[in-house]
Symmetry: C2
Subunit: 354 residues, 2 copies
């Protein structure tokens, strides 16, 4: 088995955690007898922007070609490029142009990770956030008027299409069907955002009617975030719009201890385009360059990528290695109360696979 | 001192907690020698809608007149009226038509309230959420197209005006100036919501430049919600758009134990229109009619109202009474591990004032 992987490290700690992700992938490939052909791309980072005035070459799609998956670090260096320019010129463009309409984010409290919630133990927090990843609040329609005057204003559309809403809901209900509790929770705000969100609710009710074996409920986003803290054990599969999914998939991992280990898959389920795997954390300028970053978000993303490629056993082995390393203070990074630096942690996981 | 108060109990537990709020206000008035002239309004609830097909009479503004403040319970009964209709027909209309552009929400961990965050004690969580309350994501512009077909879609504008953004930021910076730490945290999402949110950031930077004595920072809303859980002690005054403020002002109280005691003021700072005081919680159909509701959100809102009216001592006394009752299991309601029902809790607070 040979897989072509596009590798984009990005900015900041992306450049530090990516080598650890690759280290683990290579160990896994040796162990399980598959081959990863890596193509590293030296764009989609802010130094590139500084040199060329854009985040990626015009022919980036050609450059990337047709890999089996994209393995991505983190983008953003606001001292050089405002975040909305660096992100819309790279990551958000991939999500949209490759129609990676599912953003798949597990939330799981792991042994060894200090939990900020009182009295919660591994097993209490174990759910998925399924985020719509191509439309919604992240729209490109809008603008500014009366610039520089007292009447200055900005407007931006939220756009939801039946196609866009239905396919993410279908993904969530299909996923719930594979889980013991078979429960979908929809994030809404139809009491306040009274045009788009009632539509979302309508489509949820409609989709649910095709899944009589799956139960479902809905919460307004305000009380839903409250319940992540107060009752995280009630969630199984949580589905939300682009913005709500974004919020819940940072809040969820925080409730489970840290964003530092959280992975994500930006999935094009039909396989017409490559899917992209990346940690949930960003480029973290504040700790970049100090070998302090936790590489597990990147490594867990590698496991999700292998799972997506069909290497189920390899993925499961990485997860087991992550779990072992998390239990061991000398192998955990400092953000988790351990003493390891980025490489020590990454190497420990790789060694466990060999 | 005579104050005219408009009283609107609303739906569900609104009808149960309002009498306790009034009970406490009356005790406070007797104690401090002022008079509250109450005018109860039998509209802005879903039974009214069931009879009349609208939430309020056409001449509701005349009916309400020019009270010193509006004391509000909770609205919504989705079995009869969809939430977006009941809320846009009442509460959200008040906020907008009375230009109550500041939504003021304290977040405070109180002794006696079980905190879901590990190792936090009273004093660790003590900040304000200042929410823009008239524009932003809660807009009335948008609609649906290609209805009932595969191409069906909805769009809704987020609208931010310089006037709307600047005045809420000014309020936040002014408030921070009165606090020991003098720190404003801005909620943004300019990396993803790339039209309206960069504008928000721009106005924050501009406003901050007029407050050299106030420090400030900003977080994207996703990591900000994470930090509410991971580092609640770093916040002092948190300012956000209508939607972000809504989310943060449920999440904050949850981190401090419960939404059940959280109050809010919908303020028109210029005093051209009445301000409105209400608990953060909603009408809670699931527990309504059982005398289980925690009345402290309503009672704390009464204290905020008195403070707004200039009765500072009366407000401080209510807060002290709330703190005493929270420490006593037999006087706390069951949501806080106590054994009191709604009235027992309300009466206990009133008695402490007499
Ligand atoms: C009921 C709802 C429309 C309202 C809001 O979103 O503003 C509520 O959640 C609040 O926070 O006051
Ligand atoms: C960097 C940012 C644009 C991005 C998002 O909002 O989607 C990130 O927060 C994420 O969750 O992947």
């Amino acid at each position: 088995r040979i897989y072509d992987i596009a590798v984009i490290a990005g900015d900041g700690i992306g450049k530090e955690v990516m080598p650890e992700g690759i280290r683990v992938l290579e160990a896994s490939a040796r162990r399980h007898g598959f081959t990863l052909r890596q193509k590293w791309h030296d764009f989609a980072h802010c130094d590139y922007y500084a040199r060329r005035g854009r985040m990626m070459p015009e022919n980036w799609k050609e450059e990337i070609g047709k890999p089996a998956a994209i393995f991505f670090g983190a983008v953003g260096w606001p001292d050089i490029v405002p975040d909305h320019i660096s992100l819309w010129g790279s990551l958000l463009q991939f999500r949209r142009e490759y129609d990676q309409y599912v953003n798949l984010r597990p939330v799981k409290l792991m042994e060894g990770v200090p939990c900020p919630l009182a009295g919660r133990k591994p097993g209490d927090i174990d759910f998925w956030v399924i985020r719509e990843n191509t439309e919604g609040e992240y729209s490109a329609i809008g603008g500014r008027m009366f610039e520089g005057t007292e009447r200055e204003m900005v407007m931006q559309e939220t756009v939801m299409t039946r196609k866009g809403v239905d396919r993410i809901l279908k993904f969530a209900f299909d996923l719930a069907r594979t889980r013991p509790r078979k429960l979908v929770t929809s994030a809404t705000k139809s009491n306040g955002i009274a045009i788009t969100m009632p539509y979302w609710d309508e489509r949820v009710a409609e989709m649910a009617s095709s899944y009589p074996d799956v139960s479902w409920n809905k919460f307004h986003i305000d009380i839903l975030t409250a319940n992540f803290v107060l009752k995280p054990q009630i969630f199984d599969v949580v589905v939300g719009s682009n913005l709500f999914g974004d919020i819940l998939s940072d809040l969820g991992p925080a409730c489970a201890g840290t964003i530092g280990i959280a992975p994500s898959g930006n999935i094009n389920p039909e396989g017409e385009h490559p899917s992209l795997f990346e940690p949930v954390h960003g480029s973290a300028p504040d700790i970049a360059g100090q070998n302090l970053a936790n590489p597990i978000g990147q490594i867990w993303s590698a496991a999700m990528m292998l799972d997506h490629l069909g290497e189920k056993q390899a993925a499961a082995d990485i997860m087991r290695a992550i779990e072992m390393v998390l239990k061991e203070p000398s192998l955990r990074t400092r953000d988790l109360g351990g003493s390891a630096d980025t490489q020590t942690c990454g190497k420990a996981i790789a060694v466990l696979l060999s």
